[in-house]
């Protein structure tokens, strides 16, 4: 046996997945809706999620910004027939790395203690921000226990 039975009773299982859709009101730039999904009402504070989505949106806006740096990158790459991308990382890739680190950090600090998990949008084709909802430890059924989330938010 790898666990004692008590631990097993507390192992979480996936309840549902909530998807935050893209916000196309500003065109085809990558933005996610700030609307708070009702399924997460008991699991996480509204402001925390909205803050995460806002930060993500700002990262994507930075990646897709059309300005001096993107022109320079584009012209330089064109002049070298795009061979320069063999040695250079594009600005978008740099920002994607930052985003991935940010999501990891958010998962560790905020979402995992509440039984949630954010999935990086790049792994879902940049279409949705997927939030996996796990059942809380200590609860027998699939309904989330509010005592657990309030306990973990004390960290």
């Amino acid at each position: 046996m790898f666990h004692n039975l008590q631990e097993l009773r507390h192992s979480p299982s996936l309840v549902t997945k909530v998807f935050i859709q893209r916000d196309y009101s500003e065109g085809t730039v990558c933005r996610f809706q700030a609307k708070f999904p009702s399924e997460l009402d008991n699991r996480i504070e509204r402001t925390l999620l909205e803050e995460t989505v806002k930060t993500l949106n700002s990262y994507y806006a930075e990646a897709e910004k059309i300005g001096g740096q993107s022109y320079l990158e584009g012209c330089l790459a064109c002049a070298t027939a795009y061979i320069i991308f063999l040695c250079m990382e594009t600005r978008y890739e740099k920002v994607l790395r930052k985003i991935s680190g940010f999501i990891q950090e958010q998962n560790e600090k905020i979402y995992a203690p509440r039984g949630l998990l954010l999935t990086d949008p790049i792994e879902r084709g940049m279409r949705v921000l997927e939030i996996s909802v796990f059942e809380d430890r200590g609860s027998g059924g699939s309904s989330p226990s509010s005592t657990m989330s309030s306990g973990s938010s004390a960290r």
């Binding site: 998807f19 009101s25 584009g74 790459a77 990382e89 790049i122 879902r124």
Partner: protein
């Protein structure tokens, strides 16, 4: 929390259900029918080979040695753009995973309400407002997603492609958001190359005939005169016909870029006729439109090819008695023989994978995951 987080690198392109072929470890992606692409390659390399072999020696000596040099550079640029267009991911949108598809279906049903039996349900359309213009997002039954604005489903490749322009058989691939600028530069540079070769072919014939009669030019070396005649004529003919089509195509795409439209939108007449001047994606400024399309950011691939070849899938797994497998992070209960295999798989995930053409020194997602693994394991211990 007793769950553990594992990282498993899964290449999305390996599981892509569309009709594409992949090779070189996912770095090359093309449509299934490649015959016309090989024809394109043959025409370009064949004509250039003839030019270098028969025209260039004469022109380099009698006119200027820079002529063949420039021709070589131009030829290399054309080939680079062609291969980049043909082999890169045009911006394929991966299909929805089952949970996402179910979620969308539930939203649709909630929006439609109860449909009386026997009646056809309303078409699945979502309206969004972009820059004060209502744009309809259609639902794709194959990919089970609502297509983002400007995306379209390519029936030849069986994928939804972002900012879908058209499927080009000459390059053997779709032209979409990620490879449109390479396609445009390909047509532009090919036009220049064709004009260049055509001009210097004519110059060559004129120069030789000035040195002594038209027929004499072709009689220089008696044994090769019919060959030289036919090759020169062949080159001129190929260039002449290519010129009209490629220059026309370049002109058409220049027009589209200045208006920030795609071929698909132009054909459907989305922003023309009574809708003229209402394109919500246009900046209403030709220079800005050109800059956005040609000098905009280089978007990452959503299916993990070339530019972003390794995509990792991070997930929680539940340790349960039903699966009699060892936990993936060794703890005090792990049998000793399972520990080395766990360490080995963790190491394998962390090792950098090489990528081409855009190489990064460290795969972007390797280190944060392994750090997260250890931190979650620590949390477990509490």
């Amino acid at each position: 929390m007793s769950a553990v987080m594992i990282t498993r690198k899964v290449r999305k392109w390996e599981k892509l259900p569309g009709k594409n072929t992949f090779c070189c470890d996912g770095r090359v992606m093309m449509a299934r029918q490649k015959g016309v692409f090989y024809l394109t390659l043959f025409l370009i390399t064949g004509t250039c080979a003839l030019f270098f072999a028969f025209e260039c020696p004469y022109l380099a000596v009698h006119l200027c040695p820079a002529i063949p040099v420039f021709a070589v550079l131009l030829f290399l640029f054309v080939m680079a753009m062609l291969l980049r267009t043909s082999f890169s991911d045009p911006g394929v949108l991966p299909r929805a995973l089952p949970e996402e598809a179910t979620f969308i279906e539930m939203e649709i049903e909630a929006a439609n309400g109860n449909v009386p039996a026997g009646q056809r349900p309303p078409p699945r359309i979502r309206n969004v407002q972009i820059n004060n213009q209502i744009v309809k997002l259609k639902y794709c039954y194959t990919c089970k997603i609502f297509r983002p604005p400007r995306a379209s489903h390519c029936s030849i490749c069986d994928n939804c492609v972002d900012r879908f322009d058209h499927h080009c058989p000459w390059v053997g691939n779709c032209v979409g958001k990620r490879n449109y600028r390479y396609f445009y530069l390909f047509t532009l540079s090919l036009s220049l190359l064709t004009i260049y070769i055509f001009t210097f072919d004519i110059v060559h014939v004129v120069m030789r005939s000035m040195n002594g009669g038209f027929l004499n030019t072709l009689k220089e070396t008696p044994g090769t005169y019919p060959l030289k005649l036919s090759l020169t004529v062949l080159e001129v003919l190929v260039c002449f016909f290519t010129l009209w089509s490629v220059v026309g195509l370049t002109g058409f795409h220049t027009y589209l870029i200045s208006l920030n439209q795609t071929t698909n939108e132009d054909i459907k007449g989305s922003w023309s006729g009574k809708n003229r001047g209402q394109n919500p994606y246009s900046h209403k400024n030709i220079i800005k439109n050109c800059c956005e399309v040609l000098c905009g950011p280089t978007y990452p691939s959503n299916i993990g090819t070339a530019i972003n070849p390794t995509v990792s899938v991070t997930m929680f797994i539940v340790l349960s008695l039903q699966k009699t497998t060892a936990p993936l992070i060794p703890n005090e209960h792990t049998p000793d023989d399972a520990k080395p295999s766990i360490a080995a798989s963790a190491e394998k995930n962390a090792s950098p994978k090489e990528e081409h053409p855009a190489a990064t020194k460290v795969p972007p997602l390797a280190s944060p995951e392994t750090d997260a693994e250890t931190s979650i394991a620590k949390e477990r211990a509490h």
